[in-house]
Structures are given as structure tokens and as C-alpha cells.
Amino acid sequence: MNKILFFAHLRDAVGEESIMMDAKGKTIADLKQMVLETYKSVNLENVMTAINEEFASDEDIIHEGNEIAFIPPVSGG
């Protein structure tokens, strides 16, 4: 299983801080598609992704136990 984290406007849209989902073997692009299908109001435009707290690409493959985070454009500082 994989823990999927949402932040900022994504958290508001999904209504959860995180969900559990089996995304093993899928790419980040696949996962995005799954999320978009499940949560119609979610907008993943300009959203980055991290696997285990490191930025990841759409092509990166998700392994068992990986923690995935969707990261909207940041606005700290």
C-alpha cells in the first residue's frame, strides 16, 4: 500500500490530508490519472510530486510502501 499526501488547495479539494491507495508498479503519471478520476474537483496543474520526500518525475515508478506527496506551487518564505 501507499500513503498519498495532499497539501494546500489539494487538501481542501480532496477533503483528506492523506489517503491509502495501492499504487505499486504504477508511474506518477498513472497515479495522477487515478486521483483525477476519483476526485473530480482536484486540479493537478503545476502540481509537483515527491516520492519519499524527494521530487519525482511523471515517469518514476512507485514501489511498495513509498510515500507519495502532491505538492502545489510552494509559497513559503
Binding site: 494546500a8 502540481v47 509537483m48 515527491a50 520526500e53 521530487f55 505538492i71 510552494v74 509559497s75 518564505g77
Partner: protein, 154 residues
């Protein structure tokens, strides 16, 4: 630890103390505070939210980038999360270097990088609503879903 996310108010002197060194002649700090007016709109308060574990890692990455680029430098960064009122301190960056020009440049580099790669978000609350603020640099689009190579941890 020189890199931290804090739920409590930040004490500037504590961040400075982390970078004091006998070899340094200059310490710069950057203190980001909550401004009342942005583009003429009156902010009531802000909420900062962080992906805390990753944010600490990314702050540390920025510190390492600085230490590599400006030799002899020391860096400490603390970013606040939670509800902040006007004039509250959101972030403190302290950089010490042997010579002063470096202390300014390295510090400036830190704040620009924070705005690029550290997973922290702010939600502005106005009298007539609220909104999560996106990338304030307004220079970065991520067509591939991740930062450009130069933005990544190598």
C-alpha cells in the same frame, strides 16, 4: 539542528546563535514578516502549512548548496507554521561568512530557493475571503510535474 519548522514563535537570536563562528566577520539575517497589504489588499492573518519532514530536508539541502558555493559559511533556517498575524515572523535565515559580500549573497540565495523548492504553503485570509497562495515567484511552471534539474537535489 540548524534547519527547523516551528509551531511556536521564532526567536531570531536563537537562529543567529547557530551560525556564530570565530572565522566569520559577518552575519546576515533575513526575517520574513507578515505584511498587512499585498497588491493593495488587506490581509487579516495567514496560515502556513508544511510537509514538515520534507521541508526540513529541503532547508538542509539549501544550506548545503550554500556551504558548497560560499566557502566558510554557516547557515541556519527556521520556518514557522500555523496561524500568523500581521508583523509576525514567518521565516528567519541566518548566514555567517568570513566576508560580508558573501553573507548578503548567500542569504538572498536561501530565500529565493525556499520559494522554489521547500514544501510550505500559505493561505491568506482577507475580510472577504481566503485563498492558498501559489508560487509567488511567478516564474516557474512545471510542465513535467517536477522542478527543473537545477531545482532538484542532485
Amino acid at each position: 539542528m540548524n534547519y527547523a519548522i516551528s509551531k511556536e514563535p521564532i526567536h531570531v537570536q536563537e537562529v543567529i546563535d547557530k551560525v556564530v563562528q570565530r572565522e566569520a566577520g559577518a552575519i546576515t539575517t533575513f526575517i520574513g514578516t507578515v505584511r498587512e497589504l499585498t497588491h493593495g489588499k488587506k490581509t487579516l492573518y495567514l496560515i502556513y502549512e508544511a510537509y514538515e519532514s520534507m521541508a526540513v530536508k529541503k532547508l538542509e539541502q539549501i544550506g548545503n548548496e550554500i556551504k558548497e558555493r560560499w566557502h566558510g559559511s554557516e547557515v541556519a533556517i527556521t520556518h514557522r507554521v500555523g496561524k500568523l498575524d500581521i508583523t509576525d515572523v514567518a521565516v528567519v535565515i541566518a548566514v555567517s561568512t568570513p566576508h560580508r559580500a558573501d553573507a548578503y549573497e548567500a542569504n538572498r540565495y536561501a530565500i529565493e530557493r525556499i520559494k522554489e523548492i521547500v514544501p510550505i504553503w500559505k493561505k491568506e485570509h482577507w475580510e472577504d475571503g481566503q485563498e492558498w497562495i501559489g508560487n509567488q515567484l511567478e516564474t516557474v511552471a512545471y510542465p513535467k510535474g517536477k522542478p527543473e534539474e537545477s531545482d532538484l537535489n542532485e
